[in-house]
Symmetry: C2
Subunit: 471 residues, 2 copies
Amino acid sequence: MSQTDRTVKQTRTRPLRIALLGCGVVGTAVARLLTDNAGDLTARIGCPLEIVGVAVRRPDKNRSETGVDASLFTTDAEELVTRADVVIEVIGGIEPARSLILAAMKHGASVVTANKALLAEDGPRLYQAAQECDVDLYYEASVAGAIPLLRPLRESLVGDDVRRILGIVNGTTNYVLDKMDTTGAGFGDAVEQAQALGYAEADPTADVEGFDAAAKAAILASLAFHTRVGAKDVYREGITDVSAADIRAAREMDCVVKLLAICERIPSSGGGDSKGGGDSKGGGDSKAGNDSAGGISVRVHPAMIPRTHPLAGVREAFNAVFVEAESAGQLMFYGQGAGGDPTASAILGDVVAVARHKVVGGRGPGESTYQELPILSMGQAMTRYHISLDVADRPGVLAQVALAFAEHNVSIETVRQQLLSPDPDSPDEGRASLVVVTHTASDAALSATVDALAALSTVRAVTSVMRVEGE
Amino acid sequence: MSQTDRTVKQTRTRPLRIALLGCGVVGTAVARLLTDNAGDLTARIGCPLEIVGVAVRRPDKNRSETGVDASLFTTDAEELVTRADVVIEVIGGIEPARSLILAAMKHGASVVTANKALLAEDGPRLYQAAQECDVDLYYEASVAGAIPLLRPLRESLVGDDVRRILGIVNGTTNYVLDKMDTTGAGFGDAVEQAQALGYAEADPTADVEGFDAAAKAAILASLAFHTRVGAKDVYREGITDVSAADIRAAREMDCVVKLLAICERIPSSGGGDSKGGGDSKGGGDSKAGNDSAGGISVRVHPAMIPRTHPLAGVREAFNAVFVEAESAGQLMFYGQGAGGDPTASAILGDVVAVARHKVVGGRGPGESTYQELPILSMGQAMTRYHISLDVADRPGVLAQVALAFAEHNVSIETVRQQLLSPDPDSPDEGRASLVVVTHTASDAALSATVDALAALSTVRAVTSVMRVEGE
């Protein structure tokens, strides 16, 4: 018979013991929801939950808004995790979070975490530990806060093949870029506005340099491509170099600049798809630079996207993730990517899931890495460039520029030329701006083209270079 | 200990037996994907799948595009379901689909179906049968095709409280309304265009009269509110009465007209929320018509929504569902709602899920109806109206109109008056148009107001009445 035996069917009456590690903004929201919604959660799980402890650094602080009995706050997280059925980790960072999660699983607890940094750094070790301990490790809140995204990727799309993910997964940078777009503000001013409104930290490095988005890209790519991808595998460029001129250039193209987390399946250059793996790593020996051995490209960088693209309308600090799959076609998931309550919503959903498993048996699907696709270098990524040049207005300049593209086998989609007012330092020489948008080519070829353009005597300056995505 | 015993842990080697019922557009896509992606599916499930039969009406038809061995086609669906581990039902309609699904479950098979009509008609009976037979019944494809929506609602948001769902869940009507908006076409012409492109059936009744959307609304409301909601509980108005004038009126308001499936939690009028149930059914004795006993409103009707609303940008035959939850805030899910491949993607995701359960044990979460919230009548729904009137341009008309609203306790948000050219039949009387947008009130009060307006001697005609949602 195909049915499996399941020894535990009855609804249990002894409460499931919940340990909460960390009680900052998210932890406070989680504790409050666990307390306020106890009745509904019991009905949905089939068993009551009982908070058996909350690990914090300062147990004496007034945390009455959590609704948690003051006696349950403790500094001894190591002890707490040994007496829980479900551990919720919202401390963040690598240690002590990792050790606590591993200890909890060893003691038979399922774990719910929002810790993107840890998952991107050491996910495979945690997934394996969960499997060995026969417990769940759920982490929906680690990417795009409240937006149900990981479960859809891992479960709903598991019968399909994901081709590409384009994600706005960092609210801070989206807020900054949105302000730059709508108000014309420069980067520094926009960051100050974001800080004033609480959308950016005092030290915004993790957000504006793309570290946060890169960790999320690693998690998304791992799930989408059944391949181990860590934060170190992700090419990363932040938004600190995005200028008001770049934003204006995007507007002129009817585009908008977004910081995108991109996870992309790149078929091998023969046109066939190296699906199922393969050990080819090459492409480096290609003169044209357009060849690719096939694999996946995982990267975070600012890019222009057309204003007609569904992601272009994602304003303020919202997040959205656009997914293209072989059969499903184009999908988009949109919502709030951060904040106490939205993140707590995702965590509570995971808590209900893992608690149900504790009650009726079974585990959620484990992470699969069976495809182990090669991770391509940034040079092998296939993308398009938007390049603005300040050139001398002389006969033959356009031909020279076009030749530089041709020599690198980069095909030009459009060129727009505009006369500029003369340079005060050399008032006799005419100036023009050239805006070139390319067709898709390898990033290495595009980058080499830009270097060659910069070296041309007729090119006074390369004023803006930006990738174009979303078509 | 809280851990449950699980007797089946090893990866099984005997294939799981798949029976496919129906081989139309969706069934063909499912069969082809099962065949083409066999390797990936085996890796993701931990066990190979084997198609043991495809039930069709005409087994001799050439179906080589499915990749399924011709000998596997059979007309004997009753026999087929007795020898499968997983049954995929894509016949549609009530019978024989229902009997086959029930028989399959009795024989221990888990069932994956895309049958919204059956679920909306008799869902609770099927859910109960699944529970009694200890098998899974999954139906992601029944609402909004490829968009992962039911799993997020049932699992990701299960720790949260859904307040409202606004869904564009019927691609045909969205295509028709989009064409009316963008080209100014009338309803009939737009339907003909949709038919020519294959977006509408030769008999488009099920779509344009809102039956399809109503079935989906019932499924969504059941999951969102843990309450039994059937198609018969859903108030339904189609789009056949939407005129080019309505569309123009919406444009003037910077709105767009969409056919919305709305599932809404309405707190009791005391301001408190009757969460957790209650047996109050009233509201009918209220003079003001603004009182509500609390409960849920589930309805399908055309409505104006602001062009700034995320749903307004959903073009052509795309679907999107906007969800507001207590903690998660606003979420949106967007994608293709129909078509062979997108629907097959959702079905395959479900197949992998239920097959994994067959391999490692456990079942997906069952449907819960513990809240059993009262389902409110359309009169009790809280909404806003946009009303266009053709009135005589005489002193006191506006006062008369305003009085009609006040007498029904409906508060006016804006009034816009515009002089019209005289009626050729009574050229001496001035005419004006009045456009009134109300604040939120019960649909009964709004509807009574419209009746009262129509009876005023100074009102020459009520030219357009449309609900306004999305704010």
